[in-house]
């Protein structure tokens, strides 16, 4: 099943099974069905439950917050993640603060869905991965399904199980990709939080301790890592990939089996500095201070704008050539 299809099916399921679920966003109604077609067909099926909003991202999140407080389970769509800057105050000072300030008296089960990431040549203001600016906001779960996760299942968890606001990030490149089936060339195990499991992927069949390198990543980069891992099966390079779905928490680190941590690589699509990779690196040093034998390495784009030229964008963002070279350098 395609990643986008899973999301659309989940929205359909939610609308069908919970009359408190509403979807709000720009251009989400049929026949257009949303900028990335995530809601295609749904407004025809549930005409009263999809609400088309004006071009006001702040309003979209504020309106959703209000609905959530009043007992609904709104899913709001922000057309491009780059536009989240316009919603920042609503998220920081309203949606996430109310449950913390008013404890059990107020709940805000709001889901903010948004596509992020580059790779389509959409230019500097439509290609960013800016989740790092939302990590660490108290009371906000930031979810980003990888190619190994079923994004629809995660969306259902976020909507009907999670009681706090969720920023649900969908990587644009993954929309057209098939969710990676378990038990294909790579072995996948899911650990941790049942709402937001972490995928542990191996490209070898021997003991997990025999890995050459561990790669931590999430979201769109997972698709590149999948290809690297498959390519490197015949090259005997044993890779473990750790792909969390809930990137605002590092609790999964305690659940990872006892493995060798000689070489650790963290890859993130967002720009370098003050990001998920830095925080994870710090947590790993805390956890493994007397076990790490080599410096933790990171790949993130430099702190600059994403080029409009597709060729230059491909070189700017983490790519398969760069990642393979880094792995070989680390092992050499």
């Amino acid at each position: 099943m395609k990643y986008l299809e899973s999301i659309r099916n989940a929205l359909d399921y939610l609308l069908a099974n919970d009359d408190k679920v509403y979807i709000i966003g720009e251009d989400i109604l049929d026949p257009y069905g949303g900028a990335f077609k995530a809601t295609k067909g749904l407004s025809s099926k549930y005409p009263d439950r999809l609400l088309s909003s004006p071009i006001s991202e702040s309003l979209i999140v504020g309106f959703g917050t209000g609905m959530a407080i009043r007992g609904y389970r709104p899913i709001v769509e922000i057309m491009f993640g780059d536009f989240l800057g316009l919603c920042f105050d609503q998220i920081l000072n309203s949606a996430t603060k109310f449950p913390l300030m008013y404890k059990s008296k107020v709940k805000v089960p709001l889901v903010i869905r948004t596509p992020m990431g580059g790779g389509r040549g959409y230019g500097p203001t439509h290609s960013q991965s800016i989740e790092k600016h939302f990590l660490g906001i108290p009371g906000l779960n930031v979810v980003c399904p990888s190619i190994f996760h079923d994004p629809g299942k995660l969306l259902i968890s976020s909507t009907i199980e999670d009681e706090i606001p969720v920023l649900f990030i969908e990587n644009k490149i993954l929309y057209s990709k098939d969710i990676y089936p378990n038990k294909d060339q790579l072995q996948i195990e899911f650990l941790g939080n049942h709402m937001y499991p972490t995928a542990i992927i191996k490209n070898f069949s021997t003991k997990i301790e025999e890995n050459d390198i561990i790669i931590f990543t999430y979201g769109g980069i997972s698709d590149i890592i999948k290809d690297v891992m498959i390519d490197y099966i015949d090259e005997e390079i044993k890779i473990i990939a750790v792909c969390p779905s809930l990137i605002s928490s590092f609790d999964y680190l305690d659940e990872i089996p006892n493995i060798t941590y000689d070489n650790i690589l963290i890859i993130e699509e967002g720009t370098e500095g003050f990001n998920w990779a830095s925080e994870l690196s710090s947590k790993l040093y805390d956890k493994l201070y007397n076990k790490i034998t080599h410096r933790i390495q990171k790949i993130s784009p430099k702190s600059d704008i994403i080029p409009s030229s597709k060729e230059k964008e491909d070189k700017f963002l983490p790519n398969i050539i760069q990642i393979k070279e880094k792995i070989i350098n680390m092992l050499s």
């Binding site: 050459d212 005997e236 390079i237 080029p307 070989i328």
Partner: protein, 359 residues
């Protein structure tokens, strides 16, 4: 070992460049890091250096326009037939090395063990060279060399200690034990360069060590100076952090008892006694006639003059200097960065940073 020399990444503004200079002769031995090619883009020129010592075989020519990652030449650690080599590498340009007969893991191991892929390929014709094949080959090669007596003796580099005599006593101890061989002394004093200590040449500063190790000219190192323990620690950490192995020098006239645990980079000279169940850290210099009795725990980067005697279950921290003729009573704890002068008898615990003067 064979590697394709390719056009490197030349910036986001250019996808191709011109080969403007070839600075070497084909099929002539060149050293690692020799400047071999220059390529030019619209805005800048880029230098390309030899990744290891070997023989270069040209694929591109002057003024060729080349894309990023395009091959310019091959470099081989052994002299080879260019035509055979090119058939093997360039008629299969788009194939992975696995398709060419060697896995990337095997290649990495070959480079780490400083083996020759061409030599291995000869021994395993028509097989994909895997990690296991490389390991088996390395083991067989080592066994063969040892049986012929060509290898098996550890080659040790000595750091410093020329002016203080540390290098002399270390080399003397190595000669007497016969299990290791001192191959060089690394000391930056220009007055000592090219001189020999018991036949071992002083070759220059310890900055040379990394290159010597890469060229497989030594197997391990040990620090001979101990006048400045902070400097001793610094030098140890410097080389340890980049993976240069340290070795222990233990005189053949030492008495090391049961279940002693020893770190690395330690020096223990003649007539010294290390009692059972004693633990010793790294990079300690223990002179002759030192006794560390049973159950002692010693940290790292310490220095002992001759005639230091500790009783049982003494704990000593790191960077502690013992002068000569010192006695330590049982169960005493000595902290870090302590200095104890000659002729002292220690009967109380000593906290870190203390200087004990003999009245």
């Amino acid at each position: 070992m064979i590697e394709i020399i390719k056009v490197p990444f030349i910036g986001v503004n250019d996808s191709d460049c011109v080969l403007v200079s070839i600075n070497i002769k084909e099929n002539t031995l060149i050293e690692k890091d020799t400047l071999i090619f220059e390529v030019e883009t619209t805005k800048a020129s880029f230098d390309i250096y030899a990744p290891f010592s070997g023989y270069v075989y040209l694929k591109a020519s002057i003024n060729d326009v080349l894309k990023v990652d395009a091959p310019i030449a091959l470099i081989s650690d052994l002299k080879v037939n260019k035509d055979d080599l090119f058939i093997n590498y360039f008629s299969n340009e788009n194939k992975s090395k696995t398709e060419l007969g060697i896995t990337k893991k095997a290649e990495i191991l070959i480079n780490k063990l400083k083996l020759s892929s061409s030599e291995i390929s000869i021994c395993y014709p028509n097989e994909i060279i895997t990690e296991k094949i490389v390991k088996d080959f390395a083991e067989q090669k080592n066994d063969k060399l040892k049986r012929l007596g060509f290898e098996g003796i550890e080659r040790v580099g000595i750091i410093g200690g020329v002016s203080g005599g540390g290098a002399l006593i270390l080399i003397d101890s190595i000669i007497n034990s016969g299990k290791q061989i001192a191959v060089a002394v690394f000391d930056s004093s220009p007055e000592f360069e090219n001189k020999k200590i018991l036949g071992v040449p002083v070759v220059g500063s310890h900055d040379l060590i990394e290159e010597w190790f890469k060229l497989n000219r030594l197997d391990s190192i040990v620090i001979a100076f101990n006048k400045n323990l902070n400097e001793r620690e610094h030098v140890f950490n410097k080389f340890n952090s980049i993976g240069i192995p340290f070795t222990n020098i233990i005189d053949s006239k030492c008495d090391i008892r049961s279940t002693v645990e020893l770190g690395k980079g330690n020096v223990i000279l003649g007539q010294s006694y290390i009692g059972p169940a004693t633990k010793i850290g790294d990079n300690n210099f223990i002179s002759s006639n030192v006794c560390l009795e049973h159950g002692n725990i010693l940290g790292s980067h310490c220095a002992f003059g001759p005639g230091v005697f500790t009783s049982g279950n003494v704990q000593i921290g790191s960077k502690v200097r013992f002068a000569t003729g010192i006695h330590v009573e049982p169960n005493i704890k000595i902290g870090d960065d302590v200095v104890i002068s000659s002729g002292t008898t220690i009967i109380n615990h000593i906290s870190s940073g203390t200087i004990i003067k003999n009245k």
